[in-house]
Amino acid sequence: MTTVTVTTPRARRGDLALLWHQVRYEQLSFWRNPQSAIFTFALPVVFITVLGAVVGNGAGGSYFYGLSVLQYFVSTIAAVSVIGSCYGQLATGLAIRRQNGILKRVRATPLPAWAYFLGLLAHCVMVSAVDVALIVGIGRLFGVPWPGDWPAVGVALVLGAASFCALGVAVASVIRNAEAAPAVAQLLLFPLLFLSGSYMPIHSSALNAISGALPIRPFNEALIGAFAQHAGLEWHNLGVLLAWGAAGAVVAIRRFRWNPRPE
């Protein structure tokens, strides 16, 4: 008979190796799922390609803050692709995974919660990075210059991705019904995208005051600044984004459930 309390510790793989293992399989599930690959990944790329073909790199005038039309949209659609890959993917994906019991299965294995969530975060950042690179590359083909401030682009993208991941998990934690999750997530997102100037510049100081306090407009402005205007780091905008990310993380940590049914 073996004793129960004394067990020989077996070697665990390192944390980084475990994280990489997890990211690899998240990537595999993502690219195999046509819905996520097309809606999350391909849509922004198609959008910027069509826009480039239609408007070229014509001057946008003061309506586009002195940028070319396409230069403006390369920045905002890059933001849209990050929001889709992070917020959109997690808000709906996690609600569905919980509903059909996949999250409970994850909890049934020794995989620690931090590894699951860091794996998701890294996966979302990777999808975002590829998406943004494609959008910038396509913009370049239509004559948009390369981003003016690479480090500022990097900071804005990583901070934005992390914040919108946290908000996505928060929304998935608050919406308990998987059928409602995609609809609610989009309902929150779409008006805010328009209001924040993602699909057209907004020149109303009242609207901008509101959207400036919400997460999407600061992200847009941080990216526009980094892509086009050599403005250095936009501390104010990054600060608002970070605050939203922190709020999302608090809600996510307090409200997240693995079990499809309540106790």
């Binding site: 008979m1 129960v4 399989y25 799922n33 996949i102 049934a108 020794p110 995989l111 079990n259 106790e263």
Partner: protein, 320 residues
């Protein structure tokens, strides 16, 4: 959350060879008591079955042991650890395997990828291809999970429970929805696990499953354990009165009718504690009269009979 309950004295401190100890377990959902007072132990290396109708408290008990639900009261030990304490959760999860009631697997990974992913979570997993062969999915190894049949997905579930090479395996109604041959194959897999030293705690509402697999059975009804023991003796099966039955012969009844004989629907049933003597009298009577006792059988109550009488209260309530 540690809940020490003094009244749990019915079961004393377990010897080290008990894989699972449950003493005075209680759990309510609002005003509904799902588990009233459940105590049992599962010894290292045995197959233990919790048998009971739907809603009797089987899954609640199991989910508390698995760390998915908090208990209201009682002492619970799984491989020497309290599953309610999150801090030891990872170490405990490395040594137990869970097959939950509902099937849930990522649809876009293949069978092999799904198992390889989970194998990476354990410090000493079993070989992926060996497990695939064990559950009979070798031909489907490269197929995506979404294209598998329900039975094949359930076998993948079983494989996921075993991939970490657990010392203790929880099976929550493992063969519900299986066809008879698939069930027999699943039983064979579980027996092979036991032969390799794995402890198994399973829930089921199939009598034949408990009879075929379990070393010991606890019958749970209305949140309480109403009987416990090996399937062959549970509920006093081995001491129960034998039942002799035969077709109603011509000239029945005899003058010296054995006590407890009932004739109904062309069938005579005699219940007796002394089947040898009663049979002798009955066959003697038949031979004297030159008649036969057609369709003669002698049996004891099946596990199913015992189960039905033990869980009668649940039954009445659910049909009310």
């Amino acid at each position: 959350m540690r809940t020490d309950v003094v009244s749990a004295g019915a079961v004393t401190r377990s010897p080290a060879s008990d894989a699972v100890v449950v003493a005075g377990l209680r759990k309510s959902y609002g005003a509904v008591a799902a588990v009233r007072e459940v105590s049992f132990t599962v010894a290292d290396g045995e197959i233990f079955a919790l048998l009971g109708p739907n809603g009797a408290g089987k899954t609640t008990t199991l989910e508390i042991l698995e760390g998915f639900r908090r208990r209201d009261a009682g002492r619970v030990e799984v491989l020497g650890r309290d599953p309610g304490e999150r801090s030891g959760g990872r170490a405990l999860r490395e040594e137990i395997g869970l097959v939950l009631q509902d099937i849930a697997v990522e649809p876009y990974l293949t069978v092999r990828e799904t198992l390889a992913r989970n194998a990476g979570y354990y410090p000493a997993p079993r070989d992926v291809d060996e497990i695939i062969a064990l559950v009979g999915l070798t031909a489907q190894a490269r197929r995506k999970v979404r294209s598998l049949s329900g039975g094949q997905q359930r076998r993948l579930d079983l494989a996921l429970g075993m991939i970490g090479n657990p010392r203790l395996l929880f099976l929550d109604e493992p063969t519900t929805g299986f066809d008879p041959s698939a069930r027999r194959e699943a039983w064979e897999i579980v027996r092979r696990l036991r032969a390799a030293g794995t402890t198994v705690l399973l829930t089921t509402h199939y009598m034949d499953e408990a009879q075929a697999l379990a070393d010991r059975v606890a019958v749970i009804s209305d949140g309480q354990i109403v009987a416990e023991g090996p399937p062959s003796t549970i509920g006093g099966r081995d001491h129960a009165r034998a039942r002799i039955r035969f077709a109603l012969p011509p000239g029945w009844p005899p003058d010296n009718l054995p006590a407890g004989a009932v004739a109904a629907d062309g069938l005579v049933t005699v219940e007796t504690a002394d089947p040898t003597r009663v049979l002798h009298r009955l066959t003697g009577w038949a031979l004297e009269r030159g008649t036969v006792l057609d369709r003669l059988t002698v049996d004891r109550p099946s596990l199913e009979d015992v189960y039905l009488s033990l869980t009668a209260r649940d039954h009445e309530e659910s049909t009310r």
